[in-house]
């Protein structure tokens, strides 16, 4: 038994954290809100050069051949940076799905480009009305009528949908089956979709942990610096207890997320339940942390001039994506009670 990351995994995480603190500071997130595409190709290329984008791709297609446990700390860093890029869609969901479920020729067509960052992919499963990053995607993997299809970006008819998080770019996407290539159908498609959904949910949970940790760090910094009544407001017990509650929620969501990544990487029994516990706890934790962070910042946190709102809004968005807390809690209830 060793429920911890390896030194190698933590070193990789630290290297990604360094890259993101240089290449994706809050100014980059603010830029993303205001830019037409909201996406910086150089940032994506830098992540790809480090191996992050192709982390889950097989080594023979240019990837690192790593698993969900290796990816988890990196997704948490992406959350911490509020990274405006489709790492969840491309690296956590689409790449492993193509590697496992697509016909060889189709996989060979896409995986090398996805691994080296020259190609971007996104995903749309049934029940997910909005497609993230479809405007920059070269490839959409989509579920329709029980089958999985690959659709190239130029065949998509997109209608933008505006998220509360201005760095998120959502679309409704229409496409014709005649323009699509079949990835899988029948039981194979159902299994691939179920796994893709679980991977997306755990990846979102991992990002939510990073978002929550960053919000706590920002708030600690603020309440230590901010003075009222002649003292730092962080010395007041009411403020301390808000932050202790925030730390408590994250501390007991974090191992749930690790456990779900481990279950994915090792095909553990009760996978659905492990995944749902993780997304449920990560969503609930981020929701509480966001409220506490805003409350402790006071009025300055209620402005768009302060950076906090980038993290609040990304949290709200990810809490509701890939199954919200209540959806996942119901799935856990069904596994226990039915």
């Amino acid at each position: 038994m060793r429920f911890a990351f390896t030194d190698d995994q933590l070193m990789f995480r630290d290297a990604v954290a360094d890259l993101l603190s240089n290449e994706c500071p809050p100014e980059k997130v603010r830029w993303s809100w205001n830019d037409d595409t909201g996406r910086d190709p150089q940032l994506w290329a830098a992540l790809a050069a480090m191996g992050v984008v192709g982390l889950t791709a097989p080594e023979n297609s240019g990837g690192l051949g790593m698993n969900e446990v290796d990816l988890l700390p990196i997704l948490t860093e992406a959350g911490r940076a509020a990274l405006p890029a489709p790492l969840l869609e491309t690296t956590a969901v689409v790449i492993p799905m193509l590697a496992e479920s697509a016909p060889d020729a189709l996989a060979a067509t896409w995986l090398p480009g996805l691994s080296d960052g020259s190609v971007i992919a996104t995903v749309s499963l049934e029940g997910q009305p909005f497609v993230s990053d479809a405007h920059i995607a070269d490839l959409l993997v989509a579920e329709r009528g029980g089958s999985l299809f690959a659709v190239t970006g130029d065949k998509l008819r997109l209608t933008p949908q505006t998220s509360v998080d201005g760095a998120r770019r959502l679309f409704t996407a229409e496409w014709d089956e005649a323009d699509a290539e079949l990835i899988a159908s029948g039981d194979a498609a159902a299994a691939a979709v179920a796994l893709a959904f679980n991977r997306g949910a755990v990846a979102a949970a991992a990002e939510l942990i990073g978002l929550a940790e960053r919000m706590i760090a920002m708030t600690v910094e603020y309440v230590v610096a901010r003075q009222q009544f002649g003292v730092a407001i962080g010395s007041f017990q009411a403020v301390k207890h808000h932050l202790a509650d925030a730390e408590l929620k994250v501390s007991f969501a974090r191992p749930m997320v690790w456990n779900a990544a481990y279950a994915l990487a090792n095909g553990e029994p009760d996978l659905d339940r492990s995944v749902s516990m993780a997304k449920c706890f990560a969503s609930d934790a981020a929701e509480v942390v966001a409220r506490k962070a805003l409350q402790c910042h006071g009025a300055i946190g209620y402005t768009t001039e302060h950076d906090l709102h980038f993290w609040l809004k990304r949290s709200w968005a990810l809490c509701a994506s890939w199954g919200d807390a209540s959806w996942h809690r119901r799935r856990v209830a069904a596994s226990l009670l039915d």
């Binding site: 060793r2 429920f3 911890a4 730092a232 403020v239 202790a244 974090r254 809690r329 856990v332």
Partner: protein, 392 residues
């Protein structure tokens, strides 16, 4: 990351499971009553006879030299088999780690084997009428008696769990009244049958006699009952407190077993077909309570992974204490909501479900956020020592 136990650990689990299934007593009365306490001590002696009472201790003191992992496995199996709460816990889980850390070889030999065998039964003496959360405000005094080679103590301790049944108390006494608040205290072990000790039982919220007040009138305590050095009591007490807050007192096994019983209760009530709306409306709440126990189990696995590699929990043990105490309350509250009007019926009432065990467990759980340092104090510790907020 590898979440499998080794073959040796699984063999240990199998051995523990087989023994527990054959030996765990069912239906014991509460160990916090006079009648029940004696029966629980009998059970503790049986555990000791087959060397299951203190598995993680070295063999010379009655243990098996089990690793932290094996200890967790034992706890899981103990509660899975329906084992009762350990009436020896204040000794084996709180005092013993402190003796291992601070005790002399003579103290280890004198106290540990008798503690393991449930020959000596220990209670804690921390709180006083005017010193609860503010533990450093204690006033009970121990005055030096050089001629006799020891200390003479006067004062009062209170909220001493099972104080009415135990024969030893450990706690803090002020030995240098002129020193600063956190200095000048000494950790003493006091026999409750010493001349000058008076114990008065206090009925708890749940009706058991488990609480006590302990009065000391010129009680003599010899030098060899000082643990960890004169005027060093605060440091020694904080070591005990971190055991109490952290994982040694509250292993996840107990909560996971209770969460499984809650799931079983829901399934049982659903199967009767009665009150379908109430039962259906609590599905998410039952799942939430079960998940909280699971989160605590997983967090413990992460903590122990760190501990075996030498990474101490430090002040994060306060997070642990808040979490297990609050999940315990939520779990029992959820059960009572499921029971509806039957929830208020207690032990011995004909219409009670599970003989009122859920109300009993609910009442007991309400002590969790209060003892071992209130959760308000723990939140201060988290804010100041985990997050780094200013004390003042």
């Amino acid at each position: 990351m590898d979440m499998r136990f080794t073959e040796a650990e699984e063999a240990f689990r199998a051995e523990a499971r087989a023994w527990l299934e054959a030996n765990v007593p069912h239906g014991l009365p509460s160990g916090d009553t006079h009648e029940g306490f004696a029966l629980h001590v009998e059970w503790e002696k049986k555990l000791f006879a087959d060397r299951w009472s203190v598995v993680s201790w070295p063999e010379e003191y009655g243990g098996r030299g089990a690793s932290l992992w094996e200890w967790l496995i034992f706890e899981e199996e103990y509660y899975r088999a329906g084992g009762p709460q350990r009436v020896t816990q204040n000794g084996i889980f709180l005092l013993a780690p402190t003796i291992f850390e601070f005790g002399t070889e003579e103290q280890k030999a004198q106290f540990l084997p008798r503690m393991a065998a449930a020959e000596d039964l220990w209670c804690q003496g921390w709180s006083e009428p005017d010193a609860g959360s503010d533990l450093a405000g204690i006033k009970s005094r121990a005055v030096r008696d050089d001629a006799a080679g020891g200390w003479v103590i006067n004062g009062q301790k209170t909220w001493t769990t099972r104080g009415a049944f135990c024969n030893w108390v450990f706690g803090l006494f002020r030995t240098d009244p002129d020193a600063a608040r956190h200095s000048g205290m000494t950790y003493l072990m006091v026999p409750l049958d010493a001349p000058g000790v008076t114990v008065r039982g206090v009925e708890r919220l749940d009706g058991d006699e488990g609480f006590a007040e302990v009065f000391f009138d010129d009680v003599f305590v010899a030098d060899d009952l000082v643990l960890g050095g004169v005027n060093n009591g605060w440091a020694v007490a904080m070591a005990t407190a971190s055991s109490e807050r952290g994982l040694t007192l509250r292993s996840p096994g107990r909560f996971c077993a209770a969460a499984d019983r809650l799931v079983e209760l829901h399934r049982r009530l659903a199967a009767t077909g009665e009150h379908p709306e109430r039962v259906a409306s609590l599905r998410e709440a039952v799942a939430q309570a079960w998940m909280e126990a699971e989160a605590y189990r997983l967090a413990t696995l992460a903590d122990v992974s760190g501990l075996v590699e030498g990474r101490s929990q430090g002040a994060r043990s306060s997070l642990t204490k808040i979490y297990w105490s609050e999940l315990d309350v939520n779990l029992n509250e959820t059960a009572l909501r499921l029971l509806g009007p039957a929830g208020e019926l207690i032990e011995g009432s004909a219409g009670a479900i599970d003989d009122g065990a859920w109300m009993k467990a609910f009442e007991f759980s309400l002590s969790g956020p209060i003892y071992a340092g209130t959760n308000e104090i723990q939140r201060n510790v988290v804010a100041e020592r985990v997050l780094g907020l200013p004390r003042k």
